[in-house]
């Protein structure tokens, strides 16, 4: 009964490790798309046999947005700004994976300290913490602006999974509102990155500390 749910959650963890380990921008975007599809399948798998049409519809919207729309927007931003396909990390990929192992342990430790959570499923909350930490790490430890958008998407995935740990049945209007916000955010960030790139000929956030006059 919980086997499909466990498998999806473990796949989410694996995608986090892969994103931390990869050095290529396009691979990272592709993996984040896979993670988005997993996140979309999650509420369906969690409710099991008695899946309502609302939940199925919500899953479908998430899959379309996170699995297909966002990656396409990000890929277009890369293509139009014709940046390099390397990530340019502050923290190298091997060190990132080691950080990931530590983050995993921290996530499970945090979960063991939070006993007030309703124990809907013993894996959902730690996976949520781990995904959130991964997203924050990707925002902090990578230079390119695009990677920070990917980190933001992963962070949001983690927050969504955490919401699943607290309450399975979030009103669909709230979820759709959040998704719309994200869509606009990614859209705006894509445009902003394009503008930054046209103005400065790079999108290395490390060099964006001086004003250009």
């Amino acid at each position: 009964m919980t086997l499909p749910l466990d498998t999806i959650l473990v796949t989410v963890i694996l995608t986090c490790f892969l994103i931390m380990g990869t050095t290529r921008l396009l691979t990272a975007i592709r993996i984040s798309a896979i993670q988005g599809i997993c996140i979309g399948l999650l509420p369906v798998a969690a409710s099991g046999a008695h899946t309502s049409i609302r939940v199925a519809l919500l899953g479908l919207v998430i899959i379309v947005l996170k699995g297909f729309a966002f990656p396409r927007l990000l890929k277009r931003a890369i293509r139009e700004s014709s940046t390099s396909t390397e990530m340019m990390p502050f923290v190298g990929s091997t060190a990132s994976i080691v950080t990931g192992i530590l983050a995993l342990i921290v996530a499970f430790w945090i979960d063991s300290r939070m006993e007030f959570l309703p124990g809907s499923h013993s894996l959902v909350a730690p996976v949520a913490f781990f995904t959130i930490i991964t997203g924050l790490f990707m925002i902090v430890a990578r230079k390119l602006a695009i990677t920070q958008v990917v980190g933001y998407l992963i962070l949001e995935n983690g927050i969504y999974v955490f919401g699943l740990a607290i309450a399975l049945e979030v009103p669909i209007i709230v979820e759709l509102g959040v998704l719309l916000d994200m869509f606009v955010a990614v859209f705006v960030m894509g445009i902003a990155i394009f503008r930054i790139n046209r103005e400065f000929n790079h999108m290395d956030s490390d060099q964006l500390r001086n004003l250009k006059g």
């Binding site: 086997l3 466990d6 498998t7 473990v10 963890i13 490790f17 380990g21 990929s93 091997t94 994976i97 080691v98 990931g100 192992i101 995993l104 342990i105 499970f108 013993s122 894996l123 730690p126």
Partner: protein, 307 residues
Amino acid sequence: MNALRILPILSGLLLAPLLLGIVNRTKARFGGRRGQPLLQAYFDLLKLLHKGAVYSRTTTWIFRAGPSIGLAATLVALTLIPIGRGAPSAMHFTGDLFLLAYCLGLVRFFTVLAALDTGSAFEGMGASREVQFSALAEPALLIALAALARLSGHLSLSDITASIGVTSWEVAGPALALIALALFVVFLSENSRIPVDDPNTHLELTMIHEVMILDHSGPDLAFIEYGAALKFWILGSLVVNVGISGLGGGTWVSIAAFFAGMFGLAVGVGVVESTMARYRLLKVPRMLWVAVALSVLSFTLIGRFTA
């Protein structure tokens, strides 16, 4: 019952070089060649055993003792390996999985010492790489074994393989799949297979295992080659034992699945070697860290699943 007890050792001793033949055949098929005979590894061993050994004057007794100690330690490790749920290993006791890991460590230690004993800079380089990579592969192996022990509640390889079954896969299926994957990466790395090292190259600056044994000849080389084949069998059987544990059935089904799994694994290694390129040396530690991550993950997951 007695026949079943010696089956794991006997099959390992007899069939280990055959697996290398299967790997080479698979690679030849991919390359459009017919390939060497399946039994070529046996012929090579016989040929080497008939030859005399040549020793450099700069080497000491360590160089001569290395291959024998290595083969002896590998043989001890082989006695600990069970075959599926069907045949327990010839020797098993609580905690024998540590003996397995450290026997393999002893083999590596003496191979490295013998390589350093020659005083060749080239062999020292190979030794340094071998130690670097196995320092990462060993934690992955031990944590994966610890995860299996945690799942089954036993500390002996035979008891672990005997108690992990269909229900374990229902409870902790994803974790077991991750363990099998981590063990497979360790298996490729420890046997100097392709993403880590290319067993076919002999004059390249990137090789690891082959460079360490360049100065061995005759029976010593035969010992090392046979030991390497046995190591392939031992680590492969760990992967296969986890992989087939989800199958139901009795003793003979399990044994048949084990042998099918071993030959399938050899074909799989051949496919990996034909379709992948060797990683840059800098990328290998990353792959091994991923294996460590998989082991740690499966260990924590099993804690959750069984709680």
